[in-house]
């Protein structure tokens, strides 16, 4: 047990020595790897921030029910009762036509035009807040309510929230694809770097095998080397992404002071940071495994 621990400590210190022996080359490859990992991380931060910003808007699905112009207050009461009877309905608010006209006059520049009309063109309406954002449910409610007596038109105002959800889904899928591609690239680069390391240590490997090193013994320092490269690259990626996110947050606050409260940059949480660095370490390990295995097979074939 202690022997195995010593073997691992040896391999770790050997790998650290290898990295320190070529400080510039090691730094360069770690920064390149870190930048490759930082790209999808930044894309994820942007997507998360966009979703969080959008969530700040009123996204509760609601349905507007417009009555015909000849609807009496009694008709309105009956419609209201029908609406309140639905289980999916969270709240119903009545907007009398006079109030709608007043709001329109105060909010727009149409006051003169509206004043010129001899009667109020707006109908009584209900604004119904729904419990479900599900498009199919909302659609069913819409078609059911448009058959109620004295109901002229039902408008379900959920289109844009559905679009937003769809865009967010698409964004996540594109992000996953980019992350997968760049992860493969990182593993590939590490595999190549480790293969070069194996090549330069060919003599040592062959002599070690002759005097009793197993394949695991030969692989161990290279696996540590790859895992360390991944670990350092993950840390660099985290630092790069944090720096860019902080810069972006600063720029946003300067450019748009009015909306600063709504536009926010959401960076990775503590667990996500640990997961990122851990994933980078595993990528390095996987790349190293592929690189060292491939080169050892070639050595064996040469003999």
């Amino acid at each position: 047990m202690r022997r195995a621990l010593r073997l691992h400590l040896h391999a770790l210190s050997d790998a650290l020595r290898r990295i320190a022996a070529q400080p510039l080359a090691s730094l360069f490859s770690i920064v390149v790897l870190g930048a490759a990992i930082a790209l999808p991380v930044l894309a994820a931060v942007m997507l998360e921030s966009a979703i969080a910003t959008a969530a700040g808007f009123d996204m509760e699905p609601h349905v507007s029910v417009y009555l015909t112009l000849d609807a009496t207050p009694d008709d309105a009461k009956r419609v209201e009762q029908a609406l309140r009877g639905q289980p999916d309905v969270a709240a119903v608010s009545f907007v009398p036509r006079a109030q709608a006209l007043a709001e329109l006059q105060s909010r727009t520049h149409l006051a003169e035009l509206l004043a010129a009309l001899d009667r109020n063109p707006l109908p009584d309406a209900f604004t119904v807040r729904m419990r479900t954002p599900d498009a199919a449910e909302l659609d069913r409610a819409r078609s059911a309510w448009s058959r109620l007596p004295k109901v002229d038109q039902v408008v379900a105002d959920f289109e844009w929230s559905r679009r937003l959800t769809q865009w967010a889904d698409l964004g996540e899928r594109v992000l996953l694809a980019i992350a997968a591609l760049l992860s493969a690239a990182v593993a590939f680069i590490v595999a190549h770097l480790i293969r070069l390391q194996v090549l330069t240590r060919r003599e040592e490997i062959e002599v070690s095998q002759l005097i009793g090193a197993t394949s695991a013994d030969v692989r161990r320092p290279f696996l540590y080397h790859g895992a360390l490269q991944g670990l350092f690259a993950g840390a660099v990626a985290l630092a790069l992404a944090a720096a860019v996110a902080a810069w972006a947050a600063h720029e946003l606050s300067v450019l748009t002071p009015d909306y600063a409260a709504e536009l926010k940059v959401v960076f990775l949480g503590p667990m996500e940071r640990v997961a990122l660095v851990g994933a980078a370490l595993l990528l390095g390990l996987a790349g190293a495994w592929a690189g060292v295995s491939r080169q050892l097979r070639r050595f064996a074939a040469d003999r």
Binding site: H10, E203, L210, A213
Partner: protein, 221 residues
């Protein structure tokens, strides 16, 4: 300690290095393998040390059938055998101490214990003062002795040496032969290949003669 039964070794390309070789080396025995270059001496030693596998027949070393061992088990068997390579196989970017320490590092020895053993091994071959020297700074005889120090640092029960006195002048050769004789005296099984008559006479041990990959006629197995 070592038992060959009808062993043959063919290399890719059709070269038949050994055929029908059967012989035994008892525990604690010293045996010299003789023959011209190309007779199969090196191949026989590599098979005896678990570095290569036989194409046919069985090789049993320290009670283990080499042909039946997996790669890792075979590597671990090699740790119990000290091998002195004809071409030395020293690492030229490591100093004498590090070269000798390599087998102990592979086994995961504690650093202090390893340093003690490396010093003892270097002392045994007369290189104690040269531990910081790189192999290029050592003479041919010193490189040979460094290789021997690496072979014995693990305190193996069995030493295998391929032409340990090749390319050395007679004084150096005599010192090397005496070194192996001293290992034999403390109970280590020694199998070495040589075609140097002076060394053979000085060793005075049993001989196994190879000719064209087979045991020479009249040789007592």
């Amino acid at each position: 300690m070592i038992r060959f039964s009808a062993v043959a070794k063919r290399y890719p390309g059709g070269l038949e290095a050994l055929r029908g070789v059967s012989f035994e080396v008892a525990e604690g025995e010293m045996v010299a393998v003789t023959g011209h270059s190309g007779a199969g001496k090196s191949t026989l030693l590599k098979l005896a040390a678990g570095i290569e596998r036989a194409s046919a027949g069985t090789v049993v070393v320290q009670g283990q059938n080499v042909g039946a061992l997996g790669e890792s088990a075979l590597a671990i068997l090699r740790r119990r055998i000290g091998f002195v390579f004809q071409e030395h196989k020293l690492l030229f970017d490591r100093n004498a101490f590090e070269n000798v320490a390599l087998p102990l590092r592979i086994c995961g020895f504690p650093a202090q214990e390893a340093a003690r053993r490396v010093h003892a091994a270097l002392d045994k071959v007369g290189l104690l003062g040269r531990e910081k020297a790189l192999p290029v700074a050592l003479s041919g005889g010193e490189q040979q002795r460094l290789c021997i120090a690496r072979a014995i640092v693990n305190r193996p029960m069995m030493l295998v040496a391929d032409e340990p006195t090749g390319n050395l002048d007679s004084d150096y050769a005599r010192a090397i032969v005496d070194l192996f004789a001293s290992f034999h005296q403390v109970g280590v099984t020694v199998l070495l290949a040589t075609h140097d008559e002076a060394s053979l006479a000085r060793l005075g041990c049993r001989r196994v003669a190879l000719a064209a990959g087979a045991l020479a006629a009249g040789e007592p197995a």
